[in-house]
């Protein structure tokens, strides 16, 4: 870190205010340009042929007839994407996922692609591609995939993380074990033990904007890619690796983004667009349909989780354990391990053990989804915690308060916590009016806690002081949730100027150094650290310019409220110089004024939340309705409180949809039955109540303003909070997400015997 990033408590002028977001007008008037809103002269339209089979060997592909169609300019298969992975399993998996090589591994797996003069021609030609499939046995369910007799999907996968190393391939790609203490001894001390199994179904991030890009490969080996992504620098590296391009010759520009939530941290079709453009020698636009988005991009894991928690009658947890099985799709991942790390992170446990099993299935490759893996683990653990509190006769909030982690606690995933917010969020929940509000008929109340790590990462910014004193900040982190507003506020605060004088732009990959993606809730955290550093560098430059203008030593110039001021009795009678005055004179004092920063912006603070939910259930139909919902979360510092609240509400809304309705449904043939928003139901405004929020601010010691990151944690508690609410409403423990009307009716029916 190039400057002291330690937290310093002070009063703010800009940080903490709620101005309009700089990208707002463009977005509500339709001027903002998203992935599909860009065109290049002479561009072609691409369509992708996808496997209709869940698991099939590709014996051959005949593209002759398609290539002969008038207007078709290029047809590609895996043969056009040679393996350049050089033994890197991750790159090879990405390559294979973009275009199936030997086998189609899931319904929707790309097997060929066409670029044609228009969509009609491309679609017609697609039908003429003949693929010779040998259909193989498939398995899509996470438990079925590890059951005896399940087809082994990849003979090259041997379970890692166990000893001795196995001699036979398996659908379990890795076993991870975490924890400390002695859980057997702990359970022996417990007066009450809850042991239960839970399942969650696969859900999609449901971003409104499908994946879209325009690619142009030029004859001189250079290429341009306009794309909707959470990380254009990472996309540049992925595409360059897959296509054998020099990184410097591929320029990637990120469009506005209509939602990502982790699903746009991986390349899916972008390498195909580049390969088609390279073959056709013309620009190619590729926009995935909604059906393709569902079948072939970004779902989260389906899970099966066993939890065992024991406590004394006094309400102290004696031991906790969990085995978490997460589906990964066809390629190894670390989703279960992440779930295992987060499962018990809210609690101070003497004896804890979690096991994560990564399971290979014939489903799309799993991608991150907002605090990936944590919501499912929290659902299982927080459901068991609630049941345990009930069994020992304690209030659910009091039980959690009694066992909550705090500063100095060794977390269940290993490290010791610094200052954290789980206790304060629980205390806030206990006293929140929502907790004591009366409930109506057929209504139940539930609450739950959640945790997410938050990340930092490589970050680079350029800050330019323009001739009129306004400021341009070029960043390389894509704005997915209002970061241009928060970065403007922090830059304004640092320089001592007005929010409206700052213009933040997301620069392309040719104009800034590498930036890690916008993921891990790092957008505002990391980029604000770089912006602060750049602003302080610019201030240093402006002090020097003021010294030149005054002809006094720079040591006698200090910066205050957007002005250079002369210090000491010798110079005290000089009027301060504003940024505008310094900028106006810059051509005669040394030229343009700028501040640059490149850094590894690490040191993000972990994040906790507590949610409260009231739900009403119709016992005749199983239909449910969220009638009140409250989010309480530690932000560290809410730079723009309205957009922090928006993140809290957005995470809760997505969690509510996942908890009650969203689900990938596969047929016996292994094909996805509901790849569209009519049959895969996400909540709309009329499904949701006003989601109330309460922002807590426990400063992150590793950020000058105390910022932690707020983008992900809000999706962690909803599954459990809703499950607890429904369970309390109907008197039956709901252990299978989504808690859709048929599942509620089935549970009620089973309870009646």
């Amino acid at each position: 870190m190039s400057f002291d990033a330690a937290y310093q408590s002070k009063a703010y002028n800009s940080v903490g205010t709620r101005p309009l977001r700089p990208d707002g007008v463009d977005k509500v008037t339709g001027r903002a340009r998203y992935g599909a809103d860009y065109d290049m002269p002479g561009q072609l339209v691409a369509r992708v042929l996808r496997s209709p089979h869940a698991h099939a060997r590709i014996r051959g592909i005949d593209t002759t007839k398609a290539e002969a169609v008038k207007g078709v300019k290029a047809v590609i298969t895996a043969a056009d994407l040679p393996d350049l992975s050089d033994g890197d399993a991750g790159i090879y998996a990405t390559l294979d996922n973009c275009m199936a090589r030997e086998k189609a591994m899931y319904d929707g797996h790309a097997v060929a692609a066409i670029a044609a003069i228009d969509e009609k021609t491309a679609k017609a030609a697609l039908k003429l591609i003949e693929v010779d499939y040998e259909i193989l046995p498939h398995v899509v369910d996470v438990d079925a995939a590890i059951a005896t007799g399940a087809p082994v999907l990849n003979n090259a996968i041997f379970t890692t993380g166990i000893q001795p190393a196995p001699s036979a391939p398996s659908n379990v790609s890795n076993r991870a074990e975490l924890g400390h203490g002695d859980v057997d001894a702990g359970f022996a001390q417990a007066d009450v033990i809850i042991e239960r199994s839970y399942k969650t179904e696969q859900s999609h991030q449901g971003y409104i904007e499908p994946h879209a890009c325009v690619a142009s490969c030029n004859a001189d080996g250079t290429a341009d890619l306009w794309v909707c992504t959470q990380g254009h620098f990472v996309y540049r590296e992925s595409c360059a690796n897959l296509l054998g391009l020099d990184i410097s010759k591929l320029r990637v520009t990120s469009s506005e983004i209509g939602g990502g939530f982790g699903g746009k941290t991986h390349v899916w079709a972008e390498p195909l667009a580049l390969a088609l453009s390279r073959k056709a020698n013309r620009p190619v636009k590729l926009v995935m349909s909604r059906e393709e988005v569902f079948r072939a991009s970004g779902p989260t894991s389906a899970t099966s989780i066993d939890v065992k928690i024991g406590a004394t009658k006094a309400g102290k947890i004696a031991a906790a354990s969990a085995t978490l099985r997460y589906s990964c799709g066809p390629y190894p991942g670390s989703w279960a391990e992440t779930g295992a790390m987060t499962a018990f992170a809210c609690y101070d446990l003497e004896n804890v053990k979690t096991i994560g099993l990564e399971v290979i299935v014939n489903r799309p490759k799993v991608a991150a989804y907002r605090a990936p893996s944590a919501p499912m683990a929290a659902f299982a653990v927080e459901s068991a915690i609630d049941e345990l509190a009930h069994e020992i006769g304690m209030d659910a909030v009091d039980f959690r308060i009694k066992n909550a982690a705090s500063e100095g606690t060794r977390s269940s995933y290993g490290p010791v916590y610094g200052p954290i917010g789980i206790g304060p969020t629980l205390e806030a929940a206990k006293t929140h009016p929502h907790m004591s509000a009366p409930l109506g008929k057929n209504q139940g109340r539930g609450m739950a806690c959640g945790f997410w790590f938050n990340f930092g990462g490589e970050t680079c910014t350029d800050l330019n002081i323009n001739a009129d004193g306004t400021v341009t900040l070029a960043v390389g982190t894509v704005d997915v949730g209002g970061s241009r507003a928060s970065l403007s506020l922090i830059t304004a605060e640092e320089l001592g100027v007005a929010y409206d004088d700052i213009k933040v732009v997301v620069a392309d990959t040719a104009t800034l150094g590498f930036n890690e993606m916008t993921h891990g809730s790092r957008g505002t955290f990391s980029t604000s650290l770089a912006a602060i550093s750049a602003a302080r560098n610019a201030i240093e430059s402006m002090r020097q310019r003021a010294a030149i203008m005054w002809d006094i030593p720079v040591e006698d110039v200090y910066w205050e409220n957007g002005h250079a001021c002369a210090a000491g009795s010798k110079h005290g009678n000089r009027s301060p110089l504003s940024i505008q005055e310094i900028a106006a004179a810059s051509s005669k004092t040394g030229g343009p004024i700028a501040g640059h920063s490149e850094m590894v912006a690490d040191g993000a603070g972990v994040s906790f939340a507590t949610h409260i939910c009231d739900i009403e259930v119709d016992p005749d139909t199983g239909s449910s309705r969220v009638v009140r919902y409250t989010v309480i979360q530690d932000a560290g510092k809410a730079v723009h409180p309205a957009y922090v609240e928006g993140q809290y509400q957005g995470g809760a809304a997505q969690g509510i949809g996942w908890a009650l309705n969203e689900e990938y449904i596969y047929g016996e043939d292994g094909r996805l039955q509901n790849p569209g928003f009519l049959d895969y139901r996400i909540p709309v405004c009329s499904d949701l109540p006003m989601i109330d929020t309460q922002i807590l601010e426990i400063p992150n010691p590793n950020h000058p303003y105390g910022v932690r990151g707020v983008g992900e944690t809000s999706i962690v508690p909803p599954l459990a909070a809703i499950a607890n609410a429904v369970s309390n409403a109907v008197g039956v423990r709901m252990a299978h997400i989504p808690i859709s009307p048929p599942r509620i009716l089935e549970a009620l029916h089973d309870a009646k015997g």
Partner: protein, 81 residues
């Protein structure tokens, strides 16, 4: 001397130890010495490891100093959404 805790996936690559003692002043020096002692750790250190120092997770800032008695753990580097 720093006690470095290893996540379970690394232990088979480090003589099945869950804690390794290293004389190091920074994350970079600590990782280098771990690699020298256990060459099998080189690959995961290259692309799978994050380092927690007194509860703060460092994914790439290997210049961080390790205070005396610091709580240090090698964690899996995980994805965010």
């Amino acid at each position: 001397m720093v006690e470095v805790k290893l996540w379970s996936g690394l232990r088979p690559l480090a003589d099945n130890r869950d804690v390794v003692c290293v004389e190091a002043r920074t994350i970079r020096e600590m990782l280098r010495k771990l690699e020298e002692r256990y060459p099998g750790l080189a690959q995961p250190i290259h692309d799978q490891v994050a380092v927690a120092v007194n509860g703060v997770i460092y994914r790439d800032d290997w210049s961080q100093e390790l205070p005396d008695g610091a709580d240090v753990m090698l964690m899996r580097r995980i994805a965010g959404g």
